[in-house]
């Protein structure tokens, strides 16, 4: 069973919209949702969590419709937003009491364990926490009710590399078995490269690419060539290009690399940037 199944999803705003989006988070996998600011990552996540209403399409979360049946599966979903949503005048201990009443599967021992692991003081108010500490607290809460699906919306933005690395390690532990899935959105592609099985590129509300990360590395390469050489390559094989004074740089399908030209390993960030610029 897929953790999340989205088909034909649409939502329109005045200057922006999600258009006919199809996306799947396979069970036991980590899907990274990559996009620039304003691409529609947070909107997609809010639609999944039914925080905003979809206009068309269908969304299933852990096999249940996300409007009619989402209450049945909320117990199994852990959510981390980009900003700490907890009352600043409360401390982690008080929050633990609140969530123990909210979640049937709340594990107070696990919560205490995560607080100790993340070195978060139990009796200090959230207002005095740094951004990294608040994010760790959010993750501690998300992991303390035996969730099967974690949804993280820009959870690592604004954090220093050490804290981001800690969080990535924790998420890798979470998906160590095949029972747990993660949907994580970010514009920090390097974080997603470390953890994701699948990468979804979203740009201006449209899904540009959804592929296994390893297949992206296998299928695409970066080449440096002249404009003339680039023009000779089949357009459909070119995912994106940059033409400058000293030649061209392009990301193309590996099996379309012309003879005499060296192909270099691609990185996800470059692929995404090139695809976005190509679409413009």
């Amino acid at each position: 069973m897929s953790a999340i199944e989205i088909k034909g999803l649409s939502k329109n705003y005045k200057d922006f919209g999600i258009k006919n989006l199809d996306l799947t988070v396979p069970g036991g996998c980590v899907v990274g949702l990559v996009g620039e600011n304003g691409a529609g990552k947070s909107t997609t996540i809010k639609l999944i969590l039914n925080l905003i209403r979809r206009e068309s399409g269908s969304i299933k979360v852990l096999g249940k419709d996300n409007i009619k049946e989402l209450d049945d599966v909320k117990e199994d979903i852990g959510v981390v937003f980009d900003e700490c949503c907890f009352p600043l005048d409360l401390n982690p201990k008080a929050l633990g009491r609140i969530f123990r009443a909210a979640y049937k599967n709340w594990d107070a021992e696990a919560y205490s364990g995560y607080l100790k692991k993340f070195e978060l003081p139990e009796k200090k108010k959230v207002a005095s926490f740094s951004r990294g500490m608040k994010m760790k607290l959010s993750i501690a809460v998300a992991l303390s009710h035996h969730a099967k699906l974690l949804v993280l919306d820009e959870a690592t933005s604004g954090l220093d590399p050490v804290v981001r690395d800690d969080i990535i390690d924790i998420l890798l532990e979470f998906v160590a078995d095949d029972e747990h899935s993660i949907l994580i959105s970010s514009h920090i592609v390097s974080d997603l490269e470390k953890i994701c099985d699948y990468i979804a590129f979203i740009h201006k509300g449209r899904l540009m690419l959804f592929e296994e990360k390893d297949k992206i590395y296998e299928q695409y390469v970066v080449i440096h060539c002249t404009e003339k050489e680039l023009a000779a390559i089949k357009p459909e094989a070119v995912m994106g290009k940059k033409v400058g004074h000293f030649g061209a740089e392009a990301i193309i399908l590996k099996n379309e690399v012309p003879q005499g030209i060296q192909g270099y390993p691609v990185d996800i960030e470059k692929l995404f940037v090139f695809m976005v610029k190509e679409s413009a």
Binding site: K46, L51, I52, E83, C84, F86, P87, L90, A102
Partner: protein
Amino acid sequence: MKSVLLKQFLSLTRPVPLAIVICYLLYPVFISFQTSREGVTLNATMLMGLMLAMIGSILSLSVLTSDNNNGWDKFMATTPVSRKQIIRGKYLFSLAAEFICVLSATIPSVALMVMTTGFNFKEWLFIFSVLLGLAVCIFALVAPITVRFGHMAGLVTFIVVYMTILVGGVIISATMGKNEAGISMLLDMIKTDKYVISAVFVGVSITVAVISMMISEAVYMKKEF
């Protein structure tokens, strides 16, 4: 809903008692504002009661807005707590906070009664139900507007409603003071049966609160975060 009630309790554990203590410290100021006209008295207890009723309403409404502003409502909407439970929990707790504020406002009048004429339960119940009814009705009017349109709209509505009641009360008081028949009617009504009047105030405020909660629920179910 238990988690919603617990959260409100933990958040308001300090502000509510603090508000009550501050009002008691201001009691000498209220005494200086006492005034009396033919048959209608605005005494310190009433002033403090009005103040505490207002504070109770403000604290209750702040619960609605701060949770929205800091993202707590958005997060709670992702937990197994349903949106209906969230609103009902906020209403229940807000009304309980109002009850405590108004109850504490009647303590000076009880003390005064005990020291002078002896404790009169009917008299106390009348004061209590009038103040509570007033506080609950104000909250019930303003809450759905706050839920739908946000903090500023709620605050403006609250100020308008409160000022209308205050100004209206002063005008009525002034008018009744010049109208002997009016005063007699009011005094007769009050003398008739304060239990009945108390029951009416409580009944009306409960009804208004329930209707307000249903409206807020309907609004909240469609809210987009």
